[in-house]
C-alpha cells in the first residue's frame, strides 16, 4: 500500500510485518522515531506476541537480543553512532554465536567533537564485527531491506545491520509502498533455529575455544559471510518476484555500461549522484554511478563487474580511516587489482555536511585530482588552526578553536 510517511515510521511498520518476538531498545538520535513507533505498535496490540524491553544502554540492548535470540525468538534492535560503538563487544559476540539478530543503524557521525548528524563512521567502524551490512538508498529500500534482512539472517545464522542515513532518510517523509502482511509472511517463514536454550534439550552455548580450534571457527564464520554473497542476489530475486519491485542485491550500476568514469557510493547520496550523472551525460561525459548495497561481505567480483572498463573510479565515502584514507576505496582497489583503472577517494558529507550537486559537478569535471580529497574542505579554517598549532606544540582539542574562527573571533 502506498503511503506518504516518515522513514522511521516506515521502517517500524516493516519490522512489525516481520513479526519480531523480542525488541530491545535504547534511544539515541536519529534512531528514536523507529523504536518509538515500534513501542506504540507493541503497546497498541498490533504487534503480538512481542516483548518490548526498554533497556539501560545499547550494550544491554544487544545483550538482551543475544539472550532472546539464543532462546529462539526473532529479535530486533536499532541504534546509531556512539550507541553502536557502545555495543561493540556484543556485536562480535552475536556474530560469533551465530545469532540472526536484525538491527537498524541510523547512520550518524562519531565524536569527539560530538555530532548528531549523518555520515557512515559508525557502521564502517564495525566492518570487521562479523555482521552483514546492507545500505539503503531510499526509504523504500530501507523498508524492503529489512524484510530481506530477517530472511537472510535466519537462513545464514548471521546478524544483519540495515544501515540507513540518519535524518536524511530516517526523518524524511517520502512515498513508501508498504508490503502486506500476507506478502511478508509468504516471504519470511517463522524463525526455527536448530539450537535453542531449552530445558528439554540442554546445550552449553558460548564455550571457551583455544588455539586448537579458534582458527577453524573463525574460518567457518568467513565462509558463512561468503555464502551470503550467493544468497543475497538470490533473495533479492525472490523478493522481486514476491513484491513486484527490485531491491537489495550486492551492487547496482546506473548508466555504467559505457562509462569511462564511475562514482561508487553507499546510501542516500546515490540519489544526488545519479542526478549529477544525468546532467553530466547531457554535457557529453560518459559517467555512471555504482550503488553498493552490500558492504559486508564485500562483493569483490560483483564490484569488479559493475565497474567494468571504467578508467576512472571515484569512491565517494561518508567516512574514512584517519591516517590511512578511504575504507570502501581500499576494498574497491583490491577488487580492481590489475585492471589498470585509477581509483580516487573522495571523503564527503561528514557530520551532516550537505553533498551538493554543484560540488560534485566541480569535482567530477575537474582534473584527475589527488588520490584522496575532502569535498568542500574549508582550507582557510584548517590553515588557521595549523598556524596556531605550529606556534606551540601543546596538546588540546581543536574543535573549539575552529568554532571561534567561524564565529569571527580571535
Amino acid at each position: 500500500m502506498l503511503r506518504q510517511m516518515e522513514g522511521s515510521q516506515a521502517v517500524a511498520e516493516a519490522v512489525a510485518l516481520c513479526r519480531p518476538e523480542v525488541i530491545c531498545a535504547y534511544p539515541i538520535s536519529p534512531q528514536t522515531h523507529i523504536v518509538e513507533a515500534l513501542s506504540r505498535l507493541v503497546t497498541g496490540g498490533r504487534l503480538k506476541p512481542c516483548e518490548y524491553v526498554n533497556v539501560e544502554s545499547e550494550f544491554a540492548a544487544l545483550s538482551a537480543c543475544i539472550g532472546a535470540s539464543a532462546a529462539g525468538a526473532r529479535t530486533y534492535t536499532a541504534t546509531a553512532s556512539q550507541g553502536l560503538l557502545y555495543m561493540t563487544e556484543a556485536l562480535y559476540n552475536a556474530s560469533g554465536l551465530g545469532l540472526p539478530v536484525v538491527m537498524t543503524v541510523a547512520n550518524r557521525a562519531i565524536g569527539a567533537p560530538i555530532n548528531i548528524w549523518n555520515d557512515h563512521s559508525d557502521s564502517m567502524s564495525q566492518r570487521d564485527s562479523g555482521w552483514i551490512q546492507l545500505y539503503a538508498e531510499s526509504n523504500q529500500e530501507a523498508v524492503d531491506l529489512h524484510v530481506q534482512a530477517f530472511a537472510l539472517a535466519e537462513e545464514l545464522s548471521l546478524p544483519v545491520m540495515v544501515c540507513m542515513d540518519g535524518f536524511v532518510l530516517t526523518h524524511a517523509f517520502e512515498r513508501v509502498d508498504l508490503p502486506s502482511q500476507e506478502q511478508v509472511d509468504a516471504f519470511l517463514p517463522p524463525y526455527e533455529p536448530r539450537q535453542v536454550l531449552d530445558p528439554d534439550d540442554p546445550v552449553s552455548i558460548g564455550a571457551m575455544v583455544g588455539p586448537e580450534a579458534f582458527t577453524e571457527v573463525r574460518y567457518l564464520g568467513h565462509l558463512r559471510q561468503l555464502a551470503a554473497l550467493e544468497r543475497i542476489p538470490h533473495l533479492a530475486a525472490r523478493f522481486e518476484r514476491g513484491f513486484g519491485r527490485a531491491c537489495g542485491g550486492l551492487v547496482r550500476g546506473y548508466r555504467t555500461e559505457d562509462a569511462d568514469t564511475i562514482v561508487l557510493a553507499l546510501g542516500s547520496v546515490l540519489g544526488t549522484l545519479k542526478d549529477v550523472a544525468d546532467e553530466l551525460r547531457q554535457d557529453g561525459m560518459r559517467i555512471g554511478v555504482a550503488g553498493l548495497t552490500t558492504f559486508r561481505p564485500f562483493p569483490l567480483h560483483a564490484v569488479r563487474k559493475v565497474l567494468g572498463r571504467a578508467r576512472r573510479v571515484v569512491v565517494l565515502e561518508r567516512a574514512f580511516s584517519l591516517g590511512a584514507g578511504g575504507i570502501v576505496a581500499a576494498e574497491v582497489r583490491s577488487a580492481l587489482a590489475g585492471n589498470g583503472a585509477d581509483v580516487f577517494t573522495v571523503v564527503a558529507g561528514l557530520g551532516g555536511r550537505a553533498v551538493t550537486k554543484a560540488s560534485l559537478r566541480l569535482l567530477l569535471t575537474g582534473g584527475p585530482g589527488e588520490p584522496l580529497t575532502f569535498l568542500d574542505l574549508n582550507q582557510d579554517l584548517v590553515a588557521g588552526e595549523l598556524r596556531r598549532a605550529g606556534r606551540a606544540r601543546r596538546s588540546g582539542p581543536p574543535a573549539e578553536n575552529l568554532l571561534r574562527d567561524l564565529a569571527g573571533g580571535v
Partner: protein, 325 residues
C-alpha cells in the same frame, strides 16, 4: 593394615546429605535425583568455593523448578573452568555471552520465553563479583529496575581470581591483591551490592555462604517462589586468592559470618525479613589469620590499628543487622 571405621551421620541431624532425615527435610544434594547441574570433570581449583556454591545453588534451582530453567553465565572462573571446548560440565541449558552482560542476556532469555508463552521456564543468571559488582553492574541494576523475571546469583570471592587475583569493587579493606599491594585494599572503598539491590525494592534479596549450604538451598528455593528480579549474594572463599588451605574453604566462610564481617540475611521489597544470628561470635582475628592475603597484619609487631578498623566494621554489621541477640 589400618581399618577405617565407617561413620554414619547422626539420625535427626541436618548434616549435609543426610538420607536418614524425613524426605521433606533432606537437602537437595541428598537426593539421588539431584540435578547434578555442574558435574564432575570441571577444572576448578582444589577447595574452590565457587564450584561448590554454584553446584548447590543451581541444583536447588533445578529442584525448585522441576528442571524447567535456563542458566546465563558471565565470563569468569566459573565459565572458564566449566566449559573448555569441546567439553562442558553443565547439565542444564546454559549460555555464556560476555563478562559484563549476563543480567541483560538473562533479561533477553526471559523476554523470549514470555513472548513464546513458556513462562514456566525460569531464568537464572550467575557470575563472580567482578562480573556482578563491577563490569556487569549497569546491566544488573537495569534488570533489577525493570523487575525482569530473573534470579541473579553472585558468587563473591572478593577479587578477580580468574585473571590472577586483582582488586574488584568487592575486595575488602586491607586485603592484599595483585593490584592492591601492601598495605592492601584501602578503607572506605567498595560497594555493598546486596544493600544496593535492596534499594531497587526488588521482590527478594538474600546473602548466603558455602559454610551453610542448607541455608543456600533454602534461599534459592525461596527466591524461586517469587516472580520478578531477585538477587542472591553468596560468599565463596577462593584458596588461590585468599591464600588459604584448600581444606579451609568452609571454615573460613563460617568465620566470615561468625565474626560479623559477612552478614547473612534475606530481604523482601527492600526490607530485611530474616537474619541468621551468630551462634558463637569470634573476633575478626580468627577469620583474618587463616588468610595469606591478610598476613601483613600479623607481623611483628601486628598492625593492631588496622585489625581494629576491620573489627569496627564487623561490629557495625552486628549492630546494623542485629546479628547477635
Amino acid at each position: 593394615m589400618p581399618v577405617e571405621r565407617t561413620k554414619f551421620y547422626q539420625v535427626g541431624s541436618f548434616a549435609v546429605g543426610n538420607r536418614l532425615l524425613p524426605p521433606e527435610q533432606r537437602a537437595v544434594q541428598a537426593s539421588p535425583d539431584r540435578g547434578n547441574s555442574l558435574t564432575c570433570g570441571h577444572r576448578a581449583c582444589r577447595g574452590c568455593g565457587e564450584a561448590l556454591g554454584a553446584r548447590w545453588a543451581v541444583d536447588a534451582a533445578i529442584s525448585a523448578t522441576a528442571g524447567r530453567m535456563v542458566v546465563v553465565n558471565a565470563t569468569g572462573c566459573l565459565e572458564v573452568f566449566s566449559t573448555p571446548y569441546p567439553e562442558s560440565s553443565w547439565q542444564v541449558s546454559w549460555i555464556h555471552s560476555l563478562f559484563g552482560n549476563a543480567p541483560a542476556v538473562a533479561t533477553g532469555v526471559a523476554a523470549a520465553l514470555r513472548a513464546k508463552g513458556r513462562t514456566e521456564v525460569r531464568v537464572v543468571g550467575q557470575g563472580g563479583d567482578g562480573g556482578t559488582v563491577d563490569i556487569g553492574f549497569a546491566c544488573l541494576s537495569g534488570m533489577f529496575e525493570r523487575d525482569d523475571d530473573v534470579l541473579y546469583i553472585c558468587y563473591d570471592n572478593q577479587a578477580y581470581m580468574n585473571t590472577g587475583v586483582q582488586r574488584s569493587g568487592a575486595t575488602p579493606p586491607a586485603a592484599r591483591t595483585a593490584t592492591t599491594p601492601l598495605p592492601g585494599q584501602a578503607f572506605g572503598q567498595g560497594k555493598n551490592v546486596p544493600l544496593i539491590a535492596m534499594a531497587h525494592e526488588i521482590p527478594y534479596v538474600a546473602t548466603a555462604t558455602v559454610a551453610d549450604l542448607r541455608d543456600l538451598e533454602y534461599k534459592v528455593r525461596r527466591a524461586m517462589e517469587f516472580r520478578g528480579a531477585r538477587y542472591l549474594h553468596v560468599l565463596v572463599p577462593c584458596p588461590l586468592g585468599w591464600v588459604t588451605a584448600a581444606c579451609d574453604t568452609i571454615r573460613v566462610a563460617r568465620l566470615a559470618t561468625e565474626s560479623g564481617l559477612f552478614p547473612v540475611f534475606e530481604a523482601e521489597r527492600g526490607e530485611v525479613t530474616g537474619v541468621t544470628k551468630i551462634r558463637r561470635r569470634v573476633p575478626v582475628d580468627d577469620y583474618l589469620r587463616l588468610q595469606g592475603r591478610y598476613a601483613h597484619l600479623f607481623g611483628d609487631p601486628p598492625k593492631t590499628d588496622v585489625i581494629a578498623r576491620i573489627q569496627a566494621g564487623a561490629d557495625r554489621n552486628v549492630r546494623r543487622f542485629g546479628l547477635v541477640d
